[in-house]
Structures are given as C-alpha cells and as structure tokens.
C-alpha cells in the first residue's frame, strides 16, 4: 500500500503541510518495499484549481491513501471518486519521518 504525505520540503525531517493542494512536495511511502519516493507537487505554480492534476498524478503512481493537514472541497470529491483514503492530521507539527514510523508499525 502506498501513502502520499503532503510535505513542506523534500527532506524526511520536514513537517507535514497544512494544506493538501498547496504543499511543495509529496513523500510517497511504500510499506511493502519500505521506500520513500519524493516528488514535486505537479500542480505547483498553477493558480486556482490544482486538484485534478495532483489526483491524476497520484492515481498514476498507485497511491492508496493521502495524508495532509486539510483538504479542499473540490479535491475531496476527486479523491472520493478515485477511492483514495484521506487522512486529516490536524496537528501539523508532526514530521514526515514520524508519520512513516507510525505507518511502519502496522506491518508488525
């Protein structure tokens, strides 16, 4: 299962972003191979509705779940259609590496 985490920059110690569409990077964690792939937000620089660009990119990468501080209304509709699990983490002082550690525990 692959989980995309919305992050503020590309290092693994960075904090998660409080807004899904406006984040700079996505850290895509694969819990089978335990590897993380960092991609740029494909919609960075686009003004206005960014949701469809991001969701198509994540579907192409077979992502099953996304984590962010909050999701916009339009992107929630798209993620619903794509059957992608949304996880709202209201505490945005948590780092990407801490989330990955938590996701790791569920395999044990």
């Amino acid at each position: 299962m692959k989980t995309a985490i919305a992050a503020q920059n590309s290092s693994s110690e960075t904090l998660i972003d409080k807004h899904f569409g406006k984040c700079s990077y996505f850290h895509i964690y694969d819990d089978e191979s335990q590897t993380t792939e960092v991609i740029d937000n494909p919609a960075r620089g686009i003004k206005g509705c960014k949701g469809d660009v991001i969701v198509n990119e994540l579907i192409a990468k077979n992502v099953n779940a996304v984590i962010a501080g909050d999701f916009g209304t339009k992107v929630q509709q798209l993620l619903n259609q794509g059957q992608i699990q949304m996880i709202i983490h209201p505490d945005t002082r948590v780092s990407v590496s801490e989330i990955i550690e938590l996701l790791n525990h569920k395999n044990k």
Partner: protein
C-alpha cells in the same frame, strides 16, 4: 399543513473541534451556542476557501437563497457567542456527509475508509479501534 421537510446539506469534512470556549472570562460558564455542522461548513466555504455563495451552494446541494440564510445564521451565532462570551458547541443539524469519516480518539486524526467494511476499519496510523464514526445517520 405541515411545513415542507428541509433538504439535507452536503458537508465534506467534519469540523476538527467539538467547540470553543471564551478565555479570560471569569463570570461562570454561560449557556453554549449550538453551531450546526452545515453552518460551520458554509462559513468555511465562503470565508476560508473563498468561494462565492452560489459556488458554495452547489457544493452543499442547496439553493443559493438557502445557502445565504444558512451563512447568515452561522455568522449570527458566532457573533452571539463572541458578544455574550458564550461557548460554542458543534452539533450535527441536517448535515449529510458525502463520505463516512472516522475520528481516532487515540491520535486525534480524521480519516475516510473507502471500500472497507465498518467492522474492520482501524486507525491507519496507530491501528487502534477506538474510533468515533461521523456519518450521515
């Protein structure tokens, strides 16, 4: 004649709080103001996501005039709470969630579980089953 039943208002994400309390107010606790989920959603769509009222009414599946009334009621309740130093509590009202949300009581996150049966839903981070369901019914 009985009044026409109200249509459900579609709400996307649940509010991330149970309520708000005034601080620095020591005259004992006042009666809370009950803010409905759909009123919170109307305020968020208009003033946080900066949609126009007609866009927001389409998102919530209600007519534009109904949305305006809902938005006005949200503003009035919040103004009442601020002016009279009353706590705010959120309540479900006539909100209809477009998908089922769960709240993990252990790590306080909200998540959806598309395609997973209710009995086997677990918190994706801590695997706890101590969940609160925030659903339509």
């Amino acid at each position: 004649m009985s009044p026409r039943p109200k249509n459900n208002r579609t709400v996307f994400d649940p509010p991330k709080f149970k309520g708000y309390k005034p601080f620095g107010y020591y005259a004992g606790e006042n009666e809370p103001v009950f803010l409905f989920f759909e009123e919170y959603a109307a305020l968020k769509l208009c003033d946080y996501e900066l949609m126009t009222q007609s866009q927001a009414s389409q998102v919530m599946n209600i007519s534009r005039p109904t949305f305006t009334r809902l938005y006005e009621s949200a503003r009035r309740k919040i103004a009442l709470a601020l002016a009279e130093a009353r706590p705010i509590e959120v309540e479900k009202g006539r909100a209809y969630f477009s998908n089922d949300w769960y709240n993990c009581r252990a790590c306080n996150i909200f998540f959806t579980a598309p395609g997973i049966e209710l009995s086997s839903v677990r918190c994706p981070l801590c695997q706890s089953k101590n969940l609160e369901e925030i659903t339509t019914n």
